[in-house]
Structure formats: C-alpha cells, structure tokens
C-alpha cells in the first residue's frame, strides 16, 4: 500500500498510459495528511520514519484525530469541537492514542487472539469507547500534574494495567 504513495518521477511514466497524471505526493502535504489519517496507529508511526516531511505531517493532531476516531466507538454524538479542545488540553490525540487507545486495542486484540474459547458472555465489550479512553486519559493527565511547590510525585501509574507485562524471567 505504501509503495503506491512513493513519489513517482515524471520520467517513469508508462508509455501508452495516455491521460494518466501522476504527481509526487510530497508536493501536497494536505493530501498526504488525508492519506496518513486512514492508517492504523502502528503504521502511522512507522510512516513517520520515512522522511522529514512525513514525520512532520504524521505528527499533525488532525491526522491522529482521524486515526483515533477510526478506531474507537464514539458513543455520544457530542460536539466534535468540544472534544477536540478537551483532548488538546489533556495532551493531544497522538498522546491519547499512545497512552490509552493503542494499548487498549492491543489488549483487546490479544484477547481476541486467544481464540473463540473465550467466553461469549462479555463479548459485547470487545471494543474501546471514546468516553472510556478519555476518562483513562484524564486520570493519567491528572497524575502527571505537579503538586503545590512541585513536590516529588510518584510516577503516574494508573495506566499500567494496560501495558504488556514484561517477562524478566
């Protein structure tokens, strides 16, 4: 899929492909943003390693906002603008994905991978909702706030339960 997005040189135009215009994607950052916004989180992060332009575009909040919305169930038809400002205040969509939505999706995928033997009683809950992700995100943001006078705080740990356990055996 990504190969199709690599900038084509004008000279490589196929003979006989009359009327087919090609253009380098790197010339149009907004179009690139649109395309990148349709990736999943991991691919988007990988895409950010391609070149500086892709890295810059791949960090745009709008792109990550599209990614987040694509992967969560938006329960309420809340004001999108309101959500945007709250998420921006709490740290941004990229951070939201990295801390909450990404690990949650990984965890759910891991559960699904364990196969159909998994009980069906809780199968209704096999997706992440935006409100839940935002709640967890807000708790994490709150934990990172400094106290009065900047007293030494414990490292924020409320999202540890989402992390993969590290096997140190």
């Amino acid at each position: 899929m990504m190969m199709l997005l690599l900038p084509h040189r004008e000279e490589e135009e196929e003979g006989g492909a009359a009327g087919r215009r090609r253009f380098p994607i790197n010339d149009n950052a907004d179009l690139l943003a649109e395309v990148l916004g349709r990736l999943d989180g991991r691919s988007l992060a990988v895409a950010g390693c391609v070149c500086r332009l892709w890295s810059a575009v791949g960090r745009r909040e709008a792109v990550w906002e599209a990614v987040c919305h694509r992967h969560v169930a938006v329960g309420r038809a809340g004001a999108a603008g309101g959500t945007r400002s709250v998420v921006a205040a709490l740290g941004g969509y990229r951070r939201l994905y990295r801390l909450c939505i990404g690990p949650a999706l990984d965890r759910l995928a891991g559960v699904r991978r364990q196969g159909p033997a998994v009980s069906s009683s809780s199968s209704a809950a096999r997706h992440v909702s935006l409100s839940l992700a935002l709640s967890l995100f807000s708790i994490d943001c709150y934990e990172r706030l400094g106290g009065v006078g900047g007293r030494q705080q414990q490292p924020p740990a409320s999202l540890l339960f989402l992390c993969k356990p590290v096997d140190v055996s």
């Binding site: 329960g75 309420r76 038809a77 809340g78 004001a79 309101g82 959500t83 400002s85 709250v86 205040a89 709490l90 949650a104 965890r107 759910l108 891991g110 559960v111 364990q114 033997a117 998994v118 009980s119 009683s121 809780s122 209704a124 809950a125 096999r126 997706h127 992440v128 909702s129 409100s131 839940l132 935002l134 709640s135 967890l136 995100f137 807000s138 708790i139 943001c141 709150y142 706030l145 106290g147 009065v148 007293r151 414990q154 740990a157 409320s158 540890l160 339960f161 989402l162 992390c163 356990p165 590290v166 096997d167 140190v168 055996s169």
Partner: protein, 634 residues
Amino acid sequence: MKREHPEGLLGGGDWYGAPVEAAKQGKGKAMMGVEAGAEDEDVDELLAALGYKVRSSDMADVAQKLEQAEMAMGSGVAASDDAFLSHLAADTVHYNPSDISTWVDNILSELNAPPPPLPSLPLRFDAPSPVDRQNRFLDLPPSVSKQSTSATELPLVTRRTPAEVYELKPVPALPAARAPVRLAYGSDFQLDVAPSPRDSKRIKFCSSPPSSSSSTTDAATSAAPPLPVVVVDTQEVGIRLVHALLACAEAVQQENLKASDTLVKQISVLAASQGGAMRKVAGYFAEAVARRIYRPLPRGVVGCSSFDSVSFDDMLHMHFYESCPYLKFAHFTANQAILEAFAGCRRVHVVDFGMRQGLQWPALLQALALRPGGPPSFRLTGIGPPQPDNSDALQEVGWKLAQLAETICVDFHYRGFVASSLADLEPYMLLGQDTDDRGGADNDEPEAVAVNSVLELHQLLARPGVLEKVLRTVHKVRPRIVTVVEQEANHNRGTFQERFTEALHYYSTMFDSLEGGPGVAAADSAGGRDRAMSEVYLGRQICNVVACEGAERTERHETLDQWRGRMTGAGFESVPIGSNAFKQASMLLALFAGGDGYRVEEKEGCLTLGWHTRPLIAASAWRVAADPLSARGT
C-alpha cells in the same frame, strides 16, 4: 491411545455437587473431553485406525477407567512400584488388548475395587454439616491457577473438636460401603463430579476429599491389599490447611486457647508448603488469629498494623487502585450515575466522603466538559482524615484538580474538610454557600448535590448510631443522588466463626483475582509491586476483621441487601444504574489482564463486580425518597 489432559475430563469446581446427577453428568463431560467421533457406528473410527476396538458408546467409560488405571499405576512410592507393575505385567492375564474396554477392566480389577459411587461421599464425614453451609461451599469458584491449591474450595467442616482432629491419629474407620483397602487416587474423584455450568475453558482444580487421602492409613492396617500406596499431594495439604484454619476459628470461638495456639502453628507450617494465593491468604489469616489470641493490650492499632500513618494507607490504596479493577469500576460507575443525575443542571456540587488522592474526579470533570450543552459550574467538597505530619493533603488534591479543570475549561470550586469521623459533619457545612461569588445570574438556581461514598460507610458501623446520624445529615442536604460503593460480604453479623469463614471465602477470592489470569505481570515488575502492595492492603483488612473487636473493628462489611435495608430505612430510594454504566464497566474489564475472570452483574438496579461467580464489590445509587407528607424543604 491419546490421553486427554485430565482437566478436560474433569468436572467443575463444585465437587460436592448433587451426587445423583454426578455420575450422569460426569460421564457426559468425559464424553465431551474425549476425542471421539460422533458417529453412531459401533466401533470408534479413529481408534479403529490405530488397531483398537472400542464402541463409541463405551468411550466415556473407557476413558474414565484408563484415567483411574493410570492414576493408580503412576502414583505410588518407588518401593511398591516395581512389585506392582511386574505383577500387572506378568501375573495378570490380559485377553484381547485391542478391546480396550475389557482390558482396562482387567487392569482395574487387579487394582482394588473402583472408588465407591458418589452417593456415599457425604457419609465419609462424621456429621453432616448444615445445609446452608454446604450450599455456600457449593458456590465456590475453582481457582484459576492449577499449581496452587485453590483457596476458594473449602471442604465440609467436620464437627469434631479441633483437639481431636489434630492429635494426628489415624482417621477413624470409614463406612463399610467402601472397599477395605484402596489406593489413594490423586484426583480421580473429579471424574464423577458434576461439571460446573460455567465456562469449561477455565482451568479446573483437581482436589480430593480429605478422607480419601487419609484412607491411606487404612490401607496400611488392613489385611489383604496387593499394596498400600501413599499419595502425597500438595492439594491434600491445601485442604488440610483450610481445614486447620476453620478449626482454629472454631477453637477461638470456643475460647480453647491451647488448641488454637497449636493450630496456628500448624497453619504456618502447612501454609509454607503452598504456593500462590493460598499461601498468602493463609498467612494473613494465621497472623490475624495469632494477634487475636495473643492480643496486646487494647488501645488499638488502626488496622492492626504498626504502620499507622494515613499516608501509608493512602499509598496502599493507590497500589490497590492500580493493580485491580475494583476501585476503577467503583469510580466509573459512580461517575456515570452522577453524570446522569446532573443532566441539565447548571450548578452542581459533589461531596466526596473519602477524598484520598481524588482519582475519581478527573474522569467526571472530563465527562462534564464534554457533555452536550457544555460543562456546568462544578463544586467539590472533599472530606478526609487528619494528617499526622501536618501536610494538607486535601488542599493539594484540590489544587491539582483545579489545574486540570482549568485546562479543560470547567468552572471549578473546591473545599476540603478535615474530619476524623464522618459523624462530625453537619448539614450546614455541606449545603450551598450562597455567599460565594458565583455571579448573579446563576444564584437563583439551586445547586444539584451528589454525595459519593466509596468504601467509607462500613467503617461507621463500628459505633452504634453513627451511621444513622450520617445518613440523616446526608438526607438533610437533599442530594439528587447518593452513590454508595461497598464490599459485598457479610463480615459484620454472626459469630466470630461465621465471620472468619465468610472472610476466608471473600479474601481468598480477592487474592485469586489478584493472581489473575495468564496476562498478569511478573513479580518483579511495577505491576508485580502493585500486586504485592495490594496484598498488604488486603492483609490489613483481614487483620482488622479477624483480630479486632468493638470500636477498633472498622472493616464491618455488609452485603448489598443489608445496605439496601439501611438506606431505605434512612429515607432513600434506589435509583437504578443504567445500562451505560454496565457497558462501560464491561469495556473496562475487557482491558484488564485478568481477562474473563471478572464479572459484572446487575442486581436490582445495582452493579456488582466479582471474580467468577463471587461478587466482591457492589455499587448502588440512591435518592431521597419522595415523601408526600413532608411539607418543608431544607
């Protein structure tokens, strides 16, 4: 022939299930486990390919018998092994090995008589236990961990006095229905047991009733065995451990200090050989009983711990919050109820009876910020205990919340109250401060008040009348909603022994859930540290429930029904918690590494979260009951 993993053939956790159905269902379960074709033909195809002739209808029986045979052959001290196996090999006559059914029968008849049919099982115990106790044990969920003894499977309590039991003499002779000599099968009793109606994917715990293993001593004394065989079983030790704990409780109840002293020492020894949840639970209970017996002079240590400080308690609470979903479930459910109650209100006020680190409120702030119609004006009153080191933790928490509220543009006001007991609260402290500079436009709209109590109310039961006073105070504030989250257990009524048994059951399930499923963190990671601290947190509760009495015993948990009675008696009516909260709770649980062990259930409008079938924490919502006779408003 391919032998199924034992767990596949075995029944479910309640191995004292109705004996009548046991045999039928056991076979049915074995049938499911065995990899048999579903054909109606006489001979099983798959095995026929290997050269064996077994009828499909006989498959279950054959499988069972093979299990038994293998258990008998595989278990045994080395000395007797050779003799026995060579006897089997040389002296027994086997006809037609391809007919597995009769071949196995042959083998088994060389061993002793097969285990007696289950209906005689209850006869093995000296006296039948009361039916309700048996029923309670029937509900125990099996442990997830296969290695450690299930902490949640308790045997029927015998009525022998503790001193008798633990003089270590051989168990008195068993009823004649049993064969005089038998091999102690490690775990094959499970074959005949009714399968649990619950998920078959759960790892089943094999355990044998205590007397089957104690029957080995019979084997030594009786006349005509082929061989006595002793099975040393960690599972057997686990059963004895639980047995010892319960007997110890009985001894303490009867004030038989000498016996209870002996038993406490035995418990420590037995516990050391266990692993996992059972060892920890037994350790905490043993320590608590020891404290009770050798009680230091009263003037109580809070929570029976030398670490009396509130900040240590808060720190443990944090770790408990991080390592398991109970508190998160409590917060999220209460927040959802509060959010729904505040729909449409422009001024809201939340009173939190246990502020601690204020972890419940960022999520509510965020939800209020995003609600359709915009955020209301939000006031929070936090109540906390006095800090010993003069630091103003309440104020710090308020400051952090204010920072957060400012970033998400919610109008936020905070007030902290330091109170050593909730009974010190008066309604005027909680009611709206109309002298606030809130802007004239909103002043005529009354504030919507919510009162939130997470694991706080049960402590008030330690002294009489205190809870009633607090509930009266709450009633006077006329809140829109009162959210109450409490442990779902009965640790407050009944005798010491009943309380001990209940607590053993409850905390065993808790510890099991901490051990969790396969995805749980390793012991030396941050997650493992969280778990260790959570265990200490629970251990302090155990200590308080078991060792303290009177005003010191603050962990007076009561069940949801008991709380329901108290709340309705105080003039509140139940507000059903909506399906949104249920869905959110299910989603939250799906994210926890413990996997499908956690269960959210809805019970008459209240939500409970539990481990497998045992609810452990219950969240409910209340409002002031409409009283047509009352003419005045406060």
